[in-house]
């Protein structure tokens, strides 16, 4: 069964082509093909998971075929499967399947329905490629394919100016992060001489990579991860990515693609573990991101953007956990988060599908109209905020405990972010589903979504409720996903129970306060908004990060303009043209010299020869008598000499 795991991405890829080419004649306009492939993939992933838990297969498993060789090195195509891969596989296939089922309802009647499913399948294929590949080179290729799919799906409704802009922004911002990928990869290649993940990990575990090179490569690759996983300061694209359809947000921008950065750090964790500096960069960037994004969600009125900021914040948590040395906790949070955040996005999509707006100020009271969506959203919220016994409680506590074990300040930042998370989720929940309808017309038109949409919601809600509890039974997840290498620092001993109690109380308190404020006393938040208008402005401007990057682009523009004018006015006009002018003048001088000195010398030689010939010709009269005369004279002279001697 492991032998055939390489088929998973290929099959999804084939499905994408099939839908694009023949979707018109397939049931459900091609959606059936995508769903069938995703369902099969999910069943395989589930089987693998169960077998791995029971110890039915030996991990890690690796198989590869040679692709091409360069120098003395070989590039390969292949799969590398370990516990980490299987956990990620389960996330990708499960969310992909549910999102595709959900989309048949959400995208119903869209003119580009077929294309949507082709993109989803292509995305799933690329993501499975990222998850399964045995070579960092293929990883990079699939990584870029994932980015392309993200671009295509964010800008899926490209008739909307803002969607087209958001797609471009996402692509360019992640590309900014991807700058580090090739350099980081080449650093690794320089140190290890291979792109094989298993060999890189082996060498890293053996400590055969110099710490400085490993640290450089790790930090460069973290820049890449920060682009895809929306870490500070590159997270600015994720809120705008919400312009895409909600299922896309759930699949790509909540569960899978944005987790790819975390997955990459986890994949190369042995390399990171060699460098304390890289670990610190990861941990603190994660903590800062978690805090900033949570604070940004506080003032946002767009339901999907609140969830987007929440995603950024939770991704920060995962990075923080990885940086703090808690490998298992980070990946555990990734897994549980994928389910409950996908649930929240799909539920939000269901709401938006009903009221045709993203603005929470135009919602309210929807729990009477959409009971299933309300309940599932509530369960997702409880899971996200970390109220026991929902999934987020288990994973978030692991993360916070790990942060405390590493550094109390990390824990403090994380705890504050957790409190804010509970607050803004309570706010979103209350503003959307409770209170009085603020827009009566929209409220009247609202209705519960069809079963193809609520079905996935209920399934995801069930998973969100139990997954944390189930996966911690008999340390199931920890046995599957574990880091056996040595960490570059010591961890303090902390009591997990105390952290759990503390964080649950904080979350519950914060959530209660948030709910009470927005339900019973909506005037207080409005008053606070007025009182702290500079802070609110700062948050609404997203810490001026957008402005910062636009300024950066502007500076780039100006620099280019200056460079152009320098190039045109100085290099072209003065240097190149001046050089040409000088050459011309020199050539003229040389031409004159050639004409008047060299040629003249040649001519003079010729003329002299001619004159000499003319003189010599005088002796050659052609008259035989003359010659005879010379002979006579000569003979006379010789005779005279003979007689004289």
């Amino acid at each position: 069964m492991l032998e055939y795991v390489f088929i998973l991405p290929l099959l999804s890829f084939a499905a994408a082509g099939l839908i694009l080419a023949f979707g018109r004649w397939l049931p459900l306009k091609g959606a059936s093909a995508g769903i069938a492939v995703a369902a099969w993939g999910f069943s395989q992933a589930l089987l693998l998971f169960v077998k791995a838990i029971r110890g039915g297969i030996t991990l890690p498993y690796e198989v590869s075929i040679p692709w091409f060789s360069f120098g003395g090195s070989q590039a390969t195509l292949g799969v590398y499967v370990d516990g980490l891969t299987i956990a990620m596989l389960l996330v990708v296939t499960a969310v992909s399947l549910l999102v595709q089922i959900y989309s048949t309802g959400y995208m119903h009647g869209d003119p580009r329905f077929k294309r949507f499913y082709a993109y989803l399948s292509l995305f799933t294929a690329s993501m499975l490629g990222v998850t399964l590949t045995s070579s960092m080179m293929v990883f990079f290729m699939c990584w870029e394919l994932v980015g392309v799919c993200s671009y295509l799906l964010i800008g899926f409704w490209f008739e909307k100016q803002s969607a087209a802009y958001a797609g471009k922004k996402a692509f360019i911002t992640t590309k900014l992060g991807d700058l580090g990928f090739l350099i980081g990869l080449l650093c690794l290649f320089y140190a290890t001489g291979t792109f094989e993940i298993s060999k890189i990990l082996e060498l890293a575990h053996a400590g055969a990579i110099p710490a400085a090179v490993a640290g450089t490569a790790a930090i460069l690759l973290f820049l890449v991860a920060a682009g895809k996983s929306a870490q500070f300061p590159l997270f600015i694209w994720l809120p705008d990515a919400m312009e895409g359809p909600s299922p896309v947000s759930a699949l790509i921008h909540a569960a899978t693609m944005v987790a790819a950065g975390v997955y990459m750090v986890a994949r190369l964790y042995a390399v990171y573990a060699l460098s304390p500096a890289a670990m610190n960069v990861v941990a603190w960037t994660g903590a800062l991101t978690a805090f900033m994004a949570a604070s940004l969600a506080l003032t946002c009125f767009d339901l999907k953007r609140v969830l987007a900021f929440s995603t950024v914040s939770q991704l920060g948590y995962m990075m923080m956990a990885l940086g703090a040395g808690a490998f298992t906790a980070g990946m555990f949070h990734l897994t549980t988060h994928a389910y409950f955040k996908a649930l929240l996005f799909l539920a939000a999509g269901s709401v938006i599908h009903a009221v045709h707006t993203n603005d929470m100020r135009e919602m309210g009271g929807l729990r009477h109209k959409m009971p299933v969506t309300y309940i599932t959203f509530l369960l997702g919220t409880l899971a996200l905020t970390g109220i026991p016994p929902f999934a987020g409680f288990f994973s978030k506590d692991e993360v916070l405990a790990a942060a405390l074990a590493r550094n109390p300040y990390l824990f403090a930042v994380g705890a504050m972010a957790a409190a804010m998370t509970a607050f803004y989720m309570a706010r979103a929940l209350v503003m959307t589903f409770h209170g009085k309808p603020k827009d009566a017309q929209k409220y009247d038109h609202a209705h519960e979504s069809p079963a193809v949409m609520t079905g996935p919601l209920i399934l995801l809600a069930a998973v969100s409720v139990v997954s944390g509890w189930v996966l911690t039974r008999h340390e199931m997840f920890e046995k599957l996903v574990n880091f056996e290498g040595a960490l570059p620092f010591e961890l303090h001993h902390v009591s997990h129970g105390a952290v759990a109690v503390f964080s649950s109380i904080v979350a519950a308190l914060s959530m209660t306060v948030g709910a009470w404020l927005y339900k019973a006393r909506p005037e207080i938040p409005a008053l606070l908004r007025e009182k702290f208008s500079p802070v609110v402005e700062m948050l609404e401007k997203r810490y001026w990060l957008d402005a910062f990057f636009l300024k950066l682009v502007d500076i780039g523009d100006r620099l280019s303009a200056f460079m152009f004018s320098f190039d045109f006015n100085f290099l072209d006009q003065v240097v190149i043209d001046g050089w040409a002018w000088l050459t011309l003048k020199l050539s003229r001088l040389q031409g004159w010299l050639d004409d008047h000195v060299v040629d003249a010398a040649v001519d003079v030689t010729g003329a002299a020869t001619l004159s000499a010939g003319r003189v010599a010709r005088l002796a050659q009269t052609g008259l035989i008598q003359n010659y005879l005369l010379f002979v006579a004279i000569a003979v006379s002279i010789f005779a005279a000499i003979a007689f004289a001697g």
Binding site: G622, L623, I624, Q625, L628, L629, A632
Partner: protein, 101 residues
């Protein structure tokens, strides 16, 4: 009459012949002058034979040969002159320049 008288006569004859060859414009005159020079040589042969080796005849024999040769030469020479004259209508050597480059 001593050998010196003969040699002086021969020298004068040769000089006159040479002078004629060098100065004459008429090709027939030149031929005649050549005959003079040949005969100057003949006188030398005969004189040396008579005074230095009396009783021997090699010198006389050579002279007979030279006279024969001269006769043949005149035949060929005059024939050439005739042929050239037919073409060029001139007996003056300065006109005989058709081989001049």
């Amino acid at each position: 009459m001593t050998l010196s008288h003969y040699l002086a006569l021969s020298g004068v004859l040769f000089a006159i012949g040479l002078f004629g060859v060098l100065t004459r414009r008429n090709v027939i005159g030149i031929l005649m002058s050549i005959e003079l020079m040949l005969n100057a040589a003949n006188i030398n042969f005969v004189a040396f034979n008579r005074f230095l080796y009396p009783g021997r005849y090699e010198g006389h024999l050579t002279v007979i040969f030279i006279i024969t040769l001269a006769a043949a030469e005149v035949v060929v020479g005059l024939a050439l002159v005739m042929a050239i004259y037919k073409n060029l209508k001139s007996v003056y050597v300065e006109d005989y320049n058709i081989l001049k480059g």
